[in-house]
Symmetry: C2
């Protein structure tokens, strides 16, 4: 009798291997096959985070998720990747799908789950969000008391309303809409701004002037906007623009 | 020469000791004194999470943060607690302040930091938010693609607007405003609902009917609202109301 396969969807946090959870480390150590979305920005960071926790026999397989405008292409790649995973589960393998940050927030993992037969044993392990690590790094509380937090990854016609009705706004994937964000903040001077790029890595940079948004920003850039942002400038190195 | 004291503010996640990060476990092992906010709901959960990672000489000290309506009382208790921590830092102790979930989201830790002299060495370690663990447990993505997430802990006149402009709303600390939330959802039948109480504990319960909000809900209750919520009812036990 073949042992039953199991899929772990693992959130591996934003970049520091020590921000892995104990649960994630245990699952990584059991994995036969490790799938990681193939992306020039993300794959190497993901493998750097997990490498010391993998068993020496683990096989690492990048999965392609094309960012095509054509929805059909995106859907068929998700289905195809779910089939690849299914084959390994049918062989009784322990399979891991890695997600930077968390598997339930802006992750391709959730798309793959939609195509996976419900009969398979699946365990999803949460990870530290990038903005959670950033708020600790900056000593910047996201919410106190009754405050409200919003998290967005695009800028559309609803965004100004959302900003108006919330206290802290986290902008993820800013490189896709930095110009719109710049125009908004230029007009709305009641908001204060901090941007962190490549948080936790050696090339990390912190900015508190919106003028940094005049030029294209790195892929791993996160902006936090509040009415009042107090940064400990004695301990944090703020880059001038 | 006395060794320099250090304060770690540690997010210990929602309840499962395996959701501690490696960084948190390392800091816990070095701690001379562990401070934990005193609360009948939270203190025992926090100590359960960390107990196996503490050194045997570590001293555990609950700190009182009265929930008084009088702001002056709240402010003076924060200042007083910062003074208690300062005394230990002056002795060169390694001090830990525990926060369920994350230290930068609705935590008394951020209030204490405001009263701590900036000269002290402070490291804040992020933790898994309760709603992050819940989304993994339910296999319920919080955001896909361009979707927006809001996180709130109260219900006021801005809340309906915020809900209208967002895709996923996480309601934390629901026991404080379950009646307002019930009235809103009763009128706005376009939203679907899931509530989880005591997530990850043996007494965990999952509900998908808003009628559960007719009666007072447990302290550890989190609601997620989306236009469409699909739960795997073969794997999740949904409680009837």
């Amino acid at each position: 009798m073949i042992k039953q396969g199991k899929l772990y969807g693992i959130g591996i946090g934003p970049g520091d291997p020590e921000l892995l959870t104990i649960k994630a480390v245990k699952a990584l150590g059991k994995a036969d096959v490790i799938y990681v979305p193939k992306s020039k920005e993300q794959t190497s960071t993901a493998l750097h985070i997990v490498k010391e926790y993998l068993s020496k026999d683990a096989v690492i397989e990048p999965l392609e998720f094309p960012m095509a405008r054509d929805l059909q292409i995106r859907l068929s790649s998700r289905k195809h990747n779910a089939e690849i995973i299914t084959k390994e589960l049918e062989k009784g393998k322990t399979v891991v799908f890695l997600t930077l940050g968390d598997p339930m927030l802006y992750s391709t993992y959730s798309y793959v789950l939609e195509y996976l037969d419900a009969k398979y044993d699946v365990e999803t392990i949460p990870g530290i969000y990038s903005f959670s690590a950033i708020s600790s790094l900056l000593s910047l509380p996201l919410c106190k008391g009754d405050e409200k937090l919003s998290v967005i990854s695009s800028f559309d016609e609803h965004t100004p309303q959302l900003i108006r009705h919330t206290d802290t706004i986290v902008f993820m994937k800013v490189s896709a809409y930095y110009k719109q964000l710049y125009n908004f903040l230029k007009e709305h001077t009641e908001y204060q701004f901090v941007m962190i790029t490549d948080a936790g890595k050696s090339e990390q940079k912190i900015y508190n002037s919106i003028e940094v948004l005049q030029d294209k920003v790195p892929y791993f850039s996160t902006v936090i906007v509040q009415k009042q942002i107090v940064l400990n400038t004695k301990k944090l190195k703020i880059c001038q623009v």
